[in-house]
């Protein structure tokens, strides 16, 4: 039997040595997937520079944000959901519902400053509804959001099956607005909004209790509950955010194209999920960054850009390359997490 409290100093040292020995890997392992995506982007960009004239224009990069503003907004919302270990399949349909509804209401002469918050609120409410079903009825996110997909898409098609032009003055003004960046480059409002969403989301995830709860739930929802974290509130909130971001994506689309269409956004949910995964967000939850998803969207955009520059390539190549990249990144994630065990 040992003595009660006189801990010998030697044992302390041994304990400290034990602690150090027990370290299995360096903490920066969590950055490996995001660094891999960054490296991939750089390689793609350099290959573009080498192969094509005019690829060195700043507008190539700036236009990535303009052309992918919708996907970027949606991918940010999706990142929140995936970080909790969930998935949101409804976002593409929420985009189509938003664009159709906004265009129809504007056509009907509703004031644009009412239409804008209304459609954003609708998206958020849809998300909150799905989140509540997922949490309180313990429904798989896949199924609950699949139902949301059908509901939103069906509503959009019910409102109008055709493309609806937008003639509203404010919308057209926003669409035509160009924000100068430096001397020669300009960009659209939509690109700025999308970028702002990324920055706000990154701040929320890194610096607020809500953000950390999102990570905790993704790590282990049971533990989070036992640690007294507001699991219900947080889980519903991430789907609300995702719904809001999808609605925002829809609004950005109507501004970009000054029209709404019920088939707009078909498959966007899959592009968003792919962007998150390529950006290093772990599908099982608990690991990843909004900036990773940003990089994932940029990969998407850059592939399209390169195909456009090449000129004679089939657009299907975007999908083929994304497919290959997805396989690669999923394997990479598996390797990294296995090493972490």
């Amino acid at each position: 039997m040992t003595t009660i409290d006189a801990t010998p100093p030697a044992a302390d040292q041994k304990g400290a040595a034990l602690n150090r020995r027990r370290r299995v890997y360096r903490p920066n392992t969590k950055y490996i997937p995001i660094l891999a995506t960054l490296a991939l982007l750089v390689v793609m960009y350099i290959s573009g520079l080498v192969n094509y004239e005019n690829f060195d224009q700043p507008s190539v990069i700036v236009n990535l944000f303009r052309d992918n503003a919708v996907l970027l907004a949606v991918a940010v919302g999706m990142t929140f959901v995936i970080l909790t270990g969930g998935i949101d399949l409804s976002v593409g349909a929420v985009i189509s519902l938003t664009t159709t509804l906004a265009a129809t209401l504007l056509q009907g002469g509703w004031p644009p400053l009412l239409v804008l918050p209304l459609v954003l609120l609708l998206g958020a409410l849809l998300g909150a509804g799905m989140g509540a079903v997922i949490h309180y009825f313990k429904v798989e996110p896949f199924i609950a959001t699949l139902a949301g997909l059908f509901l939103a898409r069906g509503l959009a098609l019910f409102i109008n099956q055709n493309s609806i032009p937008i003639r509203d003055k404010l919308w057209i003004a926003l669409s035509d607005l160009r924000i100068p960046l430096g001397e020669t480059t300009k960009t659209t409002l939509t690109a700025i909004v999308a970028l702002a969403v990324v920055l706000i989301a990154a701040g929320v995830l890194a610096w607020t209790r809500f953000g950390r709860n999102v990570y905790a739930i993704g790590g282990s929802a049971d533990s989070a509950l036992l640690m007294g974290l507001p699991v219900a509130r947080t889980r519903i909130a991430v789907y609300t955010i995702s719904g809001f971001c999808a609605a925002l994506g829809g609004v950005l689309y109507t501004i970009n194209s000054t029209s709404g269409h019920a088939l707009q956004g078909t498959g966007t949910e899959l592009d968003a999920i792919a962007s998150c995964v390529i950006g290093g967000v772990l599908l099982t939850g608990g690991a990843g960054y909004v900036f990773g998803s940003l990089l994932g969207v940029m990969v998407f955009g850059l592939i399209t850009t390169i195909i456009n520059f090449q000129g004679d390539l089939n657009a299907a190549w975007t999908r083929i390359v994304v497919g290959i990249l997805l396989f690669g990144f999923i394997v990479l994630q598996r390797l990294v997490t296995r090493r972490a065990r």
Partner: protein, 510 residues
């Protein structure tokens, strides 16, 4: 029974908890004083977990009352328990390993200014807190980079930082190695000195005697007593836990001696030399002869199952050598073991053995089919023949081969499981707890069967928590304690339950 000078911080009186068909706790009293480590002792099903779950608010109670600091309280849930000052650290750590050490301690309570988390302050406070517990960790590293032992201590740090009155440690040491246990005990002593009341559950008697001041023994949901650890010899503790008076045990032994006097002069079948697996069981030597029944005795968690699994290839030993018929063998996996004539009937017949939705026939035929490979199905007529024979031989009831096994009683399920292995005609049959949870009649039948098999030349490794059963059946008894084979006894005149209990309790080879 001694009583500390202060008042108890926690007092549970007459606690009663009923589950459908079972009284899990029947009028149990439990007291916890500030600055003590109090061990809660009992075998499987004694009611330890239930009592802890009552205390931590997972279960409500059907009777009795709980007083914290003299005030009667109702604990509505884990969060309410935490608020009231009762924190629990479970064996499986309930933290988020993807977050950093500091976050795990402070999540939900992060220091903030205007809603923004002050990471620097949080890390600093986490480091200070861990320093007080003698832990030198990188608080900004993800928790997953640390061993389970460290994760547990981080959980303890979080628990005591939230509320430092009562700390419940439910089997914290079961997957730690010796130096990690020592580290945990240092932390516990530090907390004890700070006046924290610690409820400690462990299956390791040595640990209980090393760390605890007092202990409470439960058996079958009833309070056996509360004792000062230093004043209760280990043998008496084991007696109280197992609950058989030595006198009753002695009468059983006479029968045992009569039936199992046969000596093991036969050839050795399986010999283990220095076989062990880190974290599961210390290296041991064991020889099993043809036609011999070797009993494995020891308390729950003493390493009985772990030893058996090594001999079946379910786990691979990381040291030592196994030889079969004098030739070295490597049992890479259970399939290899089965091909060599070793069969293993698992202790968890529900989860690892019986497939409830398949019929009796399908369950019995399973292992034989597996050894033949799925490309060579056993003809139906042959199947029926074999199955009928064993249903008769083992008296499986109802004697209907097409009935789903789910609908059979526990004892009959166990016989189906035995039949499954017997038809593979093993040379060594390993049976882990075959009689647990089945009625007396079926128990006797299974025991009789084991004896007959051994008379027929089959070697049997018989694992059981019930000493009298081991004594009755075995030619030789290997006694395990704290994951170590401490003694091997020939089941001759001098060996009785008292003798085995001595060994279990003290570990000494007297």
């Amino acid at each position: 029974m001694g009583e500390p000078a202060t008042n108890p911080v926690l007092e549970m009186t007459g606690i009663r908890k009923v589950f459908p068909g079972v009284v899990a706790l029947d009028g149990v009293d439990f007291r916890l004083f500030p600055g003590e480590v109090h061990a809660l002792m009992g075998e499987n099903g004694a009611g330890k977990s239930t009592l802890i779950k009552v205390l931590t608010g997972v279960y409500g109670i059907d009777g009795g009352d709980i007083r914290l600091g003299g005030e009667e309280v109702r604990i509505a849930g884990p969060l309410a328990a935490q608020k009231a000052g009762i924190s629990t650290v479970y064996q499986e750590v309930n933290l988020c390993t993807n977050l950093t050490v500091a976050e795990n301690i402070f999540i939900g309570r992060e220091p903030r200014t205007f809603g923004k988390i002050r990471w620097g302050a949080m890390r600093k406070r986490a480091a200070e807190l861990l320093q007080r517990l003698d832990l030198d960790l990188d608080v900004s590293a993800p928790l997953s980079t640390y061993s389970l032992a460290i994760q547990q201590m981080v959980a303890i740090a979080r628990a005591v930082d939230i509320s430092a009155q009562v700390l419940v440690l439910d089997e914290p040491t079961s997957s730690l190695d010796a130096s990690e246990v020592e580290q945990l005990f240092r932390v516990m002593r530090r907390l004890k000195a700070d006046g924290v009341a610690i409820l400690f559950v462990s299956h390791f008697l040595d640990q209980v005697y090393e760390i605890s001041d007092r202990l409470t023994v439960l058996r079958n949901g009833q309070l056996i007593g509360e004792y000062r650890t230093a004043e209760l010899p280990q043998v008496q503790l084991v007696e109280k836990m197992i609950g058989k008076e030595l006198a009753t045990l002695e009468s059983l032994e006479d029968k045992a001696q009569q039936s199992r006097t046969k000596s093991a002069a036969a050839d050795p079948l399986l010999r283990a030399e220095g076989v062990g697996r880190t974290g599961a069981i210390a290296p041991f030597d064991l020889t099993i002869h043809k036609g011999e029944v070797v009993g494995l005795a020891g308390l729950l968690g003493s390493g009985r199952t772990e030893l058996a699994r090594l001999l079946f290839g379910a786990d691979r030993p990381d040291q030592g050598e196994l030889s079969l018929d004098g030739k070295p063998v490597t049992l890479r996996d259970p399939q290899v073991a089965m091909k060599r004539g070793i069969a293993f009937s698992s202790e968890n017949r529900r989860t690892e053995g019986i497939i409830g939705d398949l019929s009796v026939r399908e369950n019995i035929i399973l292992a034989l089919q597996a050894t033949r490979g799925w490309t060579r199905p056993i003809p139906r007529r042959k199947q029926d023949e074999i199955v009928d024979k064993y249903i008769k031989a083992l008296q499986i009831r109802p004697a209907d081969p097409e009935r789903p096994v789910r609908n059979l009683s526990g004892g009959n399920q166990q016989k189906v499981l035995l039949a499954r292995w017997l038809i593979t005609e093993p040379r060594l049959l390993i049976i882990d707890e075959p009689t647990r949870g089945i009625d007396v009649g079926a128990k006797a039948e299974i025991q009789k069967l084991v004896a007959e098999l051994s008379d027929g030349g089959m070697a049997v490794l018989f694992v059981s928590a019930e000493l009298e059963e081991v004594l009755r059946l075995s030619h030789k008894i290997a006694v395990l304690r704290d994951r170590r084979l401490v003694e091997e006894l020939d089941n001759t005149a001098g060996v009785d339950a008292d003798r085995i209990m001595q060994t279990i309790a003290s570990g000494a080879t007297s």
